[in-house]
Symmetry: C2
Subunit: 506 residues, 2 copies
Amino acid sequence: MRNIIKPFALAISLLFTFIFGFAQRDINLDKLSKTYADERLPLFLELLSIPNDAFYPEDMEQNIRWCEQQFGQRGFATQRIATTHVPLLMAERKHPKAKKTVLIYLQLDGQPVDSTKWFQESPYTPVIKEKNHKGEWKEATWESADSLDDEMRIFARSASDAKGPVVMFLAALDAAAKNNITPNYNIKVIMDFEEELGSPRLPDAVTRNAELLKADMLIIFDGPRHISNQPTLTFGARGIATITLTTYGPVVPQHSGHFGNYAPNPALGLSKLLAGMKDDEGRVTIPGFYDGISIDPKTEKILRNVPDKENEIKKRLQIVSADKVGSYYQEAIQYPSLNIRGMQSGWIDEKVRTIIPGWARAELDVRLVLESDPERLIRLVKNHVASQGYYITDTEPTEQERLTHEKIATFTSEISYQSFRTDFDSEVGVWLTNALKNAFGEDPIRIRMSGGSIPISPFVTTLNIPAVTVPTVNRDNNQHSPNENLRIGNYREGVKTMLAILREKL
Amino acid sequence: MRNIIKPFALAISLLFTFIFGFAQRDINLDKLSKTYADERLPLFLELLSIPNDAFYPEDMEQNIRWCEQQFGQRGFATQRIATTHVPLLMAERKHPKAKKTVLIYLQLDGQPVDSTKWFQESPYTPVIKEKNHKGEWKEATWESADSLDDEMRIFARSASDAKGPVVMFLAALDAAAKNNITPNYNIKVIMDFEEELGSPRLPDAVTRNAELLKADMLIIFDGPRHISNQPTLTFGARGIATITLTTYGPVVPQHSGHFGNYAPNPALGLSKLLAGMKDDEGRVTIPGFYDGISIDPKTEKILRNVPDKENEIKKRLQIVSADKVGSYYQEAIQYPSLNIRGMQSGWIDEKVRTIIPGWARAELDVRLVLESDPERLIRLVKNHVASQGYYITDTEPTEQERLTHEKIATFTSEISYQSFRTDFDSEVGVWLTNALKNAFGEDPIRIRMSGGSIPISPFVTTLNIPAVTVPTVNRDNNQHSPNENLRIGNYREGVKTMLAILREKL
């Protein structure tokens, strides 16, 4: 009997869950998350009022103390992880019967601000705005948070990137605590106060504190959702390496009349090197650059599932056609990139001078994917330069070198972060997918790979913790720019998302 | 008898001249020119003390008045030629029995100064310096000008470029006047007070004053001698046109992570355009660019006669090999050039950002020669861009254009001055060659074409006056740079050169 009753009970239970559970739980979750999001709005405005340019450690100290206090009040044990500059903050809370530990990454610092470009008193004085009939953002009049329309927005530095997610998480913790929702996993929160500086001290801190940071999975509460603004999970991010390439002409700039047709022009040399790296459709032509990457049918299905509207992307960028590395956007992102991010030789515009410049420089970035060893990619680019007859050095050439080698290039490189990518059917992937599906009633958009890079690879590569990003903010948030903002609806749904994750059994 | 006596007398006379005349006249000329150069040194120092950045018309007014006074004292009738900014000054003196008129071009303004880079109180406080045993230039102690060593130098803005030649000419006029040397030609002097600004108002002034400026030949007292510092005549100068070429990527710079492999990179497009214009040896590969130029054996002999020491040039520029437009320096200069004088896209060094830039720009200069129609050369470059699939506009593209054309380039150009070139065996060429030969005892170095450009083409092309440049200053004079200087020996030989020209019958 036991063998029959058990499946039967399970089937009844599933049916019950299916008929009442989903709907009921979602309605509760909607209400709960809106209530707590609205109640914690003053806390959000308070956090946004603390300046957070990581260039000023004294300002970051205020942010750190605020986090220590807030997580302390919620039963977290906090401890600072010292670095040579601004520390990291760790907050930990254990739960009864928990077997797993989830590490959550939050970021508190923001990009520098140019107050003159903001349409409000200060980037650190948050203002709630609504669109008027002309489509302009104007300060809203409002009395209570719960009366705010989802389409209104909070304008302040870091509203979206990434103090918004910090307060969403605190509000979700409060909603859970007050409603007997206890995670069945332990939580560690690692707070980064130097993300916008590129987290230069994070890798070392992670290595030194491997035991302290140990966890079964990592969630990153950062970044904007898919452009459709539907619930999104991102399973990977390209890494980034950079290359600086300099070619040389005469030792000092020469009069282009006296020496035009005689002194070799370094800008021509550089142009030839760069032109030889890619074809007209933006595909790298250096043999082997894309080795190891192939999009199998299963992966293709995953990629095709993302509802990108490429015509809209192109219209926004004002381009007729895209590079042909992939045949569509999601495919393109699965490959490493080789991008000229900056280039200069001599001067242009009002500074122009009729010279043969002394040097020409290109700054390149290589976005990395899991299949490509970054050192190999860099070596391929370097070998390409060498194959064009260049003598390669990593410093400014000496007179002796200049008088010995016909073509000289200075080539330096740096691997900033590695790529990471977590399988959709990994434990963390399935768990988070279920959490969002249960909360929103449909599968989230699952993105295999984000084009951009986030400095969490030390966790993935050093500590071997699989990671998934849970983005919550609206994509048109002016991240890194003046008039950064967060849509109220995204703030509320962010609380809902995080509450769903706290509730979901692991 | 008359038919016999005449040739006989001529032969005797020539023999006499050959045996005694040369030596005697030269010794006189040496002494005379040194005497007057030294006597006019205070006048030179006075002129150098008047600031002459043409950006400041009130300073230029002082220079103009000084010239009016000096030429007036020497029997010249002066008159200003009004322009919309600083005027030109014309000084004219007629001589008995003169049949021809020689126009002399002088330049009074200097490049802007950065006083902090000068090793003296002010660029407008001339200092006479000598090299110490360490090879450093230190202020010389001296009592009288005639005791100054030829190797000493006068340091001041415009010492060489080109107030030096102005005073040399005044000193030569004085030496001639006091020693019964009367030119057998009339002299017109045209003084330019905006040369370093590119003489923007000269072409119009020349056209409007064609009758006033009418002359049989033009001498330009400007520029450095051949690097060997031997007496030099320059028979031509390349003209100059400029091109600005801009390519476009996304309408605003995009995050290179999100859009690397997707949004086309304008720096790559520009590199491909530039790389396609020239081969690895710096030769323009656009068909037809060098059409019309061929160096015949006679011209080659002329070019080969210039005693360039190319190994020294290369050592100075710290290059192993030169571009292969010509097989030697003088030949290279006979061809038009196509030079990348500036190039930029995004940012480099400490300003670098991980973006796909919105645009990339190259500034090109085309040095023109007589055989090449500048409009044709510009059209060839433009056609090359178009042949690479670019839609060409002369303004920033509109959204409509961006959404219609896959590749867009903004192409603008300007013809600054045309080239000029005078035959060695033209009247002015033979006359000046004789003058220098008679003064220095050997043929001057005759340069067919100077690589650089001088804004005198309006005289040559509009007024049809053949022109030759008579350079006098030392090449290592730091022209346009801090610590500009003139070697005392070149100052004295410059007076000698000009006195030789005043003496030489036309």
